[in-house]
């Protein structure tokens, strides 16, 4: 191993995830400066990330099958799913809105699930290629992950605002609950994944 590629772990050191202080690895100890639990790598990172990612993937099905809201106008309205909502925005000529909702509710969560599975599989296969690219993927997920919440906020805002009886009412559907669970699970999944594992296989000169 080249000296330039020394990691803290290889030197018997551990980096505090909360305050960045370097200390020596001991079993089961807390950061001497901030008191956070110290782990050289996030504990059970792969197992936890797999569980959370697969959970999100499973819940994404009911999130799309069940309606997320019903627009009742003049006493009539049909419950709509996420995709039907996007379609009705396109019908109304609201292209930019349709794009925002589609990206936040379909592209981001599905992209996150696919990328997480790719990261997990590549780490488990001890892949030494595309290290920088996989790091970029990880950072993109961290940065864009929470934007899927837009749809949840949108439904709660619309339901709270449009309450005019038979004239116009917007009611939330049970799909919101499932979609909210998907968003929370993907957020936890991305945080459970330890990006240092990507580089550990690169340092593995066997």
């Amino acid at each position: 191993m080249a000296v330039a590629d020394l990691t803290a772990k290889a030197c018997g050191l551990v980096h505090c995830h909360a305050c960045a202080l370097i200390s020596r690895i001991q079993d089961d100890h807390a950061c001497p400066r901030c008191g956070a639990a110290l782990h050289s790598r996030k504990p059970f990172s792969l197992q936890r990330t797999w569980a959370l990612t697969l959970g999100a993937a499973v819940l994404y099905v009911p999130a799309n099958v069940f309606p997320i809201m019903t627009v009742v106008r003049m006493g009539q309205g049909e419950p709509k799913t996420i995709l039907a909502g996007v379609a009705s925005l396109i019908d109304a000529g609201m292209w930019p809105l349709a794009m925002i909702v589609f990206i936040a509710s379909v592209v981001v969560p599905i992209g996150k699930i696919i990328f997480l599975i790719y990261l997990l599989v590549s780490v488990q296969r001890r892949s030494k290629t595309y290290l920088g690219e996989r790091m970029v993927l990880y950072r993109l997920m961290e940065y864009f992950g929470h934007w899927s919440m837009v749809d949840i906020f949108l439904v709660t805002l619309l339901a709270a605002l449009v309450k005019m009886g038979t004239l116009a009412t917007i009611e939330p559907g049970v799909g919101v609950s499932f979609f909210g669970a998907v968003v929370v699970l993907t957020l936890f999944a991305a945080r459970a994944f330890d990006p240092r594992l990507i580089w550990d296989s690169a340092n593995d000169h066997r």
Partner: protein
């Protein structure tokens, strides 16, 4: 620039080293001029940054954010006019509305991400930054600064703002939407809290907390 780095021996001062948060690569601790950034030479993550006057700037911006936060919650967010009738709602109404449908999971999620986590984040920061700007370290500073770091990714004011904008445009063909004072305050809140995040140098805050022990 190639950095020659030998593995730290037992006698060496560990304070001279930093490890990359994202890839664990060990670096000699950089000493940075104001306005410069040190990045990991392997994965490009930010290792340290020299930020000018960071305590006062982040304190001022966080205080401003807290004031905007109060305004956001005290005034109506959006109003709606349709067929001679008018309704209006506040941010809290929006968060609580779904309890009428028994969807408590969504109520809790929205309450936490749009209201509670941002508020706790500001309060925890102010608890540390106000005394620190005056040269003192408050009791429990390490705990509260860690807590602020935990709350911050779950505060989703920016996403909420986008939700408000989408709602306004979407409702335009159904009824007349009246943006309330809180919408503009929300913009101010978003600006100040983002700027406060960029102004703060957490490494320096930790150094001060550590040296007080």
């Amino acid at each position: 620039m190639s950095v020659s780095l030998t593995p730290p021996s037992l006698s060496q001062d560990l304070g001279k080293f930093v490890a990359c948060h994202d890839c664990d690569l060990l670096h000699a601790k950089p000493s940075l001029a104001v306005g410069t950034v040190a990045r990991c030479r392997r994965c490009g993550a930010v290792l340290a940054q020299g930020r000018p006057d960071h305590l006062l700037r982040s304190l001022t911006l966080t205080l401003a954010a807290l004031i905007f936060f109060v305004i956001v919650n005290a005034f109506p967010l959006l109003g709606l006019k349709l067929g001679g009738r008018e309704t209006s709602m506040t941010l809290l109404d929006g968060a609580l509305e779904l309890r009428n449908y028994g969807m408590w999971d969504v109520v809790i999620l929205v309450l936490l991400t749009s209201l509670l986590f941002p508020l706790l984040h500001f309060l925890a920061l102010l608890y540390i930054l106000i005394p620190m700007a005056m040269g003192r370290i408050p009791p429990g500073a390490a705990f509260w600064f860690r807590a602020a770091g935990l709350f911050s990714p779950w505060g989703m004011i920016g996403v909420y703002m986008l939700g408000v904008l989408v709602a306004v445009v979407k409702l335009a063909d159904l009824a007349t939407v009246v943006p309330g004072v809180a919408v503009f305050a929300l913009g101010g809140l978003l600006f100040c809290s983002t700027a406060a995040g960029y102004a703060l140098d957490p490494a320096d805050v930790w150094r001060r907390i550590g040296s007080a022990r």
